[in-house]
Structure formats: structure tokens, C-alpha cells
Symmetry: C2
Subunit: 212 residues, 2 copies
């Protein structure tokens, strides 16, 4: 049993080689391809090659924001937990998730909205450049769009990949109709691990580019 590969770096390199060899022929290159491959690495689900949708120029928006040490705001603690802390530290990135905060729970109750929505309200008050990373709550995504349309939210980009059977697909299509720089997964699929894979791929490329 001692013959299995022990080195995590070797495992990742080999994995990406296998993924590359199994992709459908594609013209996609650069960071967009890296994101697609990292999502497949995280899920072993090649359907994501078709499901991932990128607004034109979103990769540069994301890269600029993370290089400027923006704040990443996630809708789940799983995403916060999964984001690569070493890369975030190198880029001076702060990671926030407000969904479990006591004041957010109270606001949600008072205003008859989900905690995910109240957490977006709280995050919208943060100063500086912000990227929202949504893997779970369609209501969070809807709330961002509402706030952005009414001038209550400044956001560099949204990674909008909620998973689910009620509202998830619709919330992503609504995001797609806005002019917010964004990445989404078409249909029901998505989730916290997909969101993490996307943002980690962006940070990895940013760290490579700044050469640290």
C-alpha cells in the first residue's frame, strides 16, 4: 500500500494533466481555462466545461481586484474555510462571511428576510474593493442584484454559483442579465467547492503574475 503517491504537489500536477487530456477540444486559454480545470479538479465533473459562463473581461476584473488586496465576501462559512489562506495573505486579501453573525440574524428576523440577504446588506457597507462569492444562497445573489441596481452596492465582480433546485438557476440567470462582471454556472449545479475552486484559481494566477 506504500506505493500510493504521497506528495500533494505531484498529485495536483498529475491530476491537471489528466484533466487537460480529457477536456473537450476548446479555444479557451489563460485564466479562464485554469478556472475550468480547477473546478473539474474539485468535482471530477466534466459537465462544468459547458456549465461555467464568463462575462467578457471578468477574469481581468477579478485579477485586478485580488492584486489590489480586495475583500472577499462569501455566503457560506465552508467557502471562507476553503479559500487558500496562504495565497490570500500574499495578496493582502481579507475574507468575510457574515451569515452566522448575531446582528445579521436579528436584522433578518426584523426585516423578514433570509440571513443570507441580511449578510449581503452588512457586507455592502464595507469600504474598499469587494468580490462576492456565492455558492449556496439564491437569496444572497438576488439581494446583491437588487442593491446594485439601486446604487446600494459597489462590487468589482461576483462569483455566482449557488447550487440547488429552487431558485438557484433563476438567480444565476438574473445575474447574467445584469452588467455586473461575473462568473456563473448554468442550471442547478454549483456549490461551495466550485466557488472556492474559482477564487483559488484567480488568486493563484495573481500571485504568479506579481511574482511572489
Amino acid at each position: 500500500m506504500s506505493s500510493y503517491i504521497h506528495n500533494p504537489h505531484d498529485i495536483e500536477t498529475k491530476s491537471f494533466e489528466i484533466i487537460q487530456s480529457m477536456l473537450k477540444p476548446t479555444d479557451v486559454t489563460g485564466l479562464r481555462l485554469q478556472i475550468i480545470k480547477r473546478v473539474i479538479h474539485t468535482t471530477a465533473d466534466f459537465e462544468f466545461q459547458d456549465l461555467l459562463c464568463f462575462k467578457e473581461g471578468v477574469e481581468n476584473k477579478l485579477l485586478e481586484a485580488v492584486k489590489a488586496g480586495c475583500t472577499l465576501i462569501s455566503d457560506t462559512n465552508m467557502i471562507k474555510s476553503g479559500i487558500n489562506k496562504k495565497l490570500a495573505e500574499k495578496l493582502g486579501i481579507k475574507i468575510c462571511c457574515f451569515v452566522s453573525d448575531e446582528d445579521v440574524a436579528q436584522c433578518a428576523k426584523k426585516q423578514n428576510m433570509t440571513r443570507s440577504m441580511a449578510a449581503v446588506n452588512k457586507a455592502a457597507q464595507l469600504p474598499g474593493k469587494k468580490i462576492f462569492v456565492v455558492g449556496n444562497a439564491p437569496t444572497a445573489l438576488y439581494r446583491m442584484i437588487e442593491l446594485q441596481e439601486t446604487g446600494g452596492l459597489e462590487v468589482e465582480a461576483i462569483v455566482g454559483v449557488p447550487v440547488g433546485f429552487v431558485g438557484a438557476a433563476e438567480s444565476k440567470e438574473t445575474l447574467w442579465k445584469t452588467d455586473i462582471p461575473s462568473i456563473m454556472t448554468r442550471g442547478r449545479k454549483g456549490g461551495s467547492t466550485i466557488a472556492v475552486a474559482i477564487i483559488n484559481a484567480v488568486m493563484k494566477e495573481a500571485v504568479k503574475q506579481i511574482g511572489s
Copy 2:
């Protein structure tokens, strides 16, 4: 836009109705069916109806252990973060993940093994009933099997669902050949969200059964 469903409980109920209606005909019932449905709820991937494999009797082993307030040991912090804390608290369950611990990093370096393996070594020392929950690291799963075979690990059950292209499928098939009560996903698919869905389904059923 205010027409979208705001109530998380309604969303979950409706989601499970949709999943039930879309499942392939099956004789599976009870907790096993609940686990399958919760994994699909988490991924929107119906392939898991076929990929999830259950050792005979593993559901009862898991239920007994969580009702007894066992310790859950995960291989990733994402899993630790995603496990339902309210359910865990009701059952008196402790959740541990040692992979980022400084002493584990040092042991791994000294013994030329992955941090995931060193984390299993540390977890094996814990007293009391233990369930291991693996969503990422094949090396963690291999290490558990090695320790169990040499008498160095007492474990009630293993949720073994690492995802990946190098070693993941093989590690799960190796687990399957042991007599350890376990749940696994056949092939490459798996991951932290799948692991979380399985253990949360078990805890939900346990809380229902003890009536708290």
C-alpha cells in the same frame, strides 16, 4: 424580484420533493435514501444515486455513534465548517480537523508523509467513539486503513468520499475491501460537500429519533 421564495425551510422542503420525483425507481428507503437525497440536494448531480455505496448496516453504526456523542474527525476544514453545529450540539458531538495543526505539519515533515496522514495519526490517539469523514485526501483514507489493519485505530465508521484523479478511486476501493463500516462514492467523484451532506443527514435522523 420580490416573488422569490425567502423561507429557507420552504426551499428545502420543495427541493426534496423535486429530488424525490426525479430519482430513478429504487427499493432504498430510510436513512440510506435520506443520505442519497441530501447528497443530490448538495450537488444537483443525480449520478450520486448510483455512485454512493453503503456497507450493510453502516447506517445503524453511524446512528449509534452520533447518538452516543462520538467525535467526528474530518480531513478538511471545509468539512468541519460545513457540519451542522446545531445538530452536533444537540447530540454532544465534537468535531475535529487536525490537518492545519503545527505539530501535524512537523510530524509530516519528519516522517516524510502528507499532513493528511499525520493528522490521522494524531486523531487515532483520541479516546472514545470516532467517525472519520474524508472528502479530499486519499492518503488520509489509506492511512486509516493501514492503522486499522495493524490494530492502531478504533473507528465506528468511515465516510470515505475523497474526490480526484490520482488515488481517490483506488483509495475508496481499498476501503471497500476492508470490513470497516463505511460509505463511499465509487469512482472519481466525491468531495467536502458530499461528505458534509452524508454526516448531516445522519445527525438529522439521530436528532429526530431521540426526539429533541
